[in-house]
Symmetry: C2
DNA sequence: CGCACTCTGTTACAAAACGTTACACTTTAA
DNA sequence: TTAAAGTGTAACGTTTTGTAACAGAGTGCG
């Protein structure tokens, strides 16, 4: 999951699953904290997330970290480049995963439909990352956090009576490293949104969206 | 071209051209200022840059702009998502382009070798964009500009007697929008690098790298 | 059970980085 | 030649970060 510019097809497309195909391996179940792969590993499998949440990260030698993406249901992770993984990937919320052999993407032997579906997933990935560029490069802290919450709401928000509610399985540091901010700034910004009554923070992992329109406005550059 | 973490294979890989294949269209020659496509256009062709430089951009409604990438020889541009372009693309330096039908990527009918090569280009694109995330999200102004010059040097730098020399066909505003800075900051940072004798600015489009190691150091977080 | 300890998150204040504004200068195009 | 666009530089302002202190939740241990 990246922070993309809102669009109605986003969810439908990305969760359109590679379902009607012959899997080459049974689904795998992984617990919180487990690692799927590390940067530099040879790619054997791609994975489509069926349930749970993954985290993809890159590290700089001096310890700085960038969270590249969160893997939500429907997302495909593990695209190879030169046959290798270029991120670490671990499990944030215990996940069910559908593995696909790397060859299914790269040569498509056997199943052209699956091959095409994985290719389309890669192409969508490129487009989503382009959107995320705009966010990392050109948005303010408030816009970033507001965008993040909006996208998460659109993608996995739940109805909670009058309002909608978003669960944040990642810690503040993960959000910061995803949005290019510090944990303090993420924390301060959430407080600011709470004080403007745009969100409520029910508990540390649960945000209630009180004014979705205001949030969306902030994410696109309206003044607070 | 993205600002990726330096690696010896970068150039060899990306300029490894889709050469030994049957082109489905003759090469095209485009002049500075010409547009290849706009955001929202249906994708008919992908293009591999043979010579010249392209610029891929995205716009926000309020006018903020992100330069997504520069297209240098070897790069492939125009990957579709949902069949559409998601950036604008225009010509910075008059370019020779090899067009490939979109179907060559998406269905591969006719030429499996070409299909595989285009797919690999897309996968490399994903990896390069991940590196660029790190840069946009986690690097300071000096690190960004130093990284930019280092990558450009590695990719298209020319020998100039004792030193190496880089041509910047894009204006300061383009560099700024690529790195997530303002033109002033780009300008100040270049001045700063010039005053520390790490680069010399021969003319507005030509930078001489006096101390490549120092530049690389700065790009990875050493103090100035 | 209570206690110290760690980890995460929050807040306040100071500091740094970067952006904004303004203006001079150069180059390019009309 | 003049206007327009692009660039360089400086002073100033804003945003974001860094630092530090503290609160609360969870954990291990006596």
């Amino acid at each position: 999951m990246y922070v993309t510019i809102p669009s109605d097809h986003t969810m439908a497309e990305s969760t359109a699953i590679l379902a009607a195909t012959t899997p080459s391996a049974p689904q795998a179940q992984l617990k919180r904290g487990a690692y799927l792969f590390f940067e530099g590993d040879d790619v054997e499998w791609l994975y489509q997330v069926k349930s749970g949440v993954l985290r993809l990260t890159r590290l700089l030698e001096d310890g700085r970290r960038q969270v590249i993406a969160f893997g939500y249901p429907g997302d495909v992770v593990g695209f190879p480049s030169d046959g290798k993984h270029h991120t670490d990937c671990d499990v944030l919320v215990s996940a069910r995963l559908q593995p696909f052999r790397r060859a299914m993407l790269e040569s498509g032997e056997g199943d052209p439909v699956l091959h095409a579906a994985l290719l389309q997933a890669a192409l969508r990935e490129i487009s989503a990352m382009q959107d995320h560029f705009m966010m990392l490069g050109r948005k303010s802290a408030v816009e970033k956090v507001a965008s993040f919450l909006s996208v998460l709401d659109e993608r996995v928000g739940q109805d909670q009576g009058q309002y909608r509610q978003v669960t944040l399985p990642m810690c503040r540091g993960d959000i910061a490293d995803f949005l290019g901010l510090t944990t303090e700034t993420v924390s301060r910004t959430l407080t600011q949104l709470r004080k403007s009554k745009i969100i409520a923070i029910e508990n540390i992992q649960t945000v209630v969206i009180l004014r979705p329109t205001a949030l969306l406005g902030l994410s696109m550059g309206d003044r607070g």
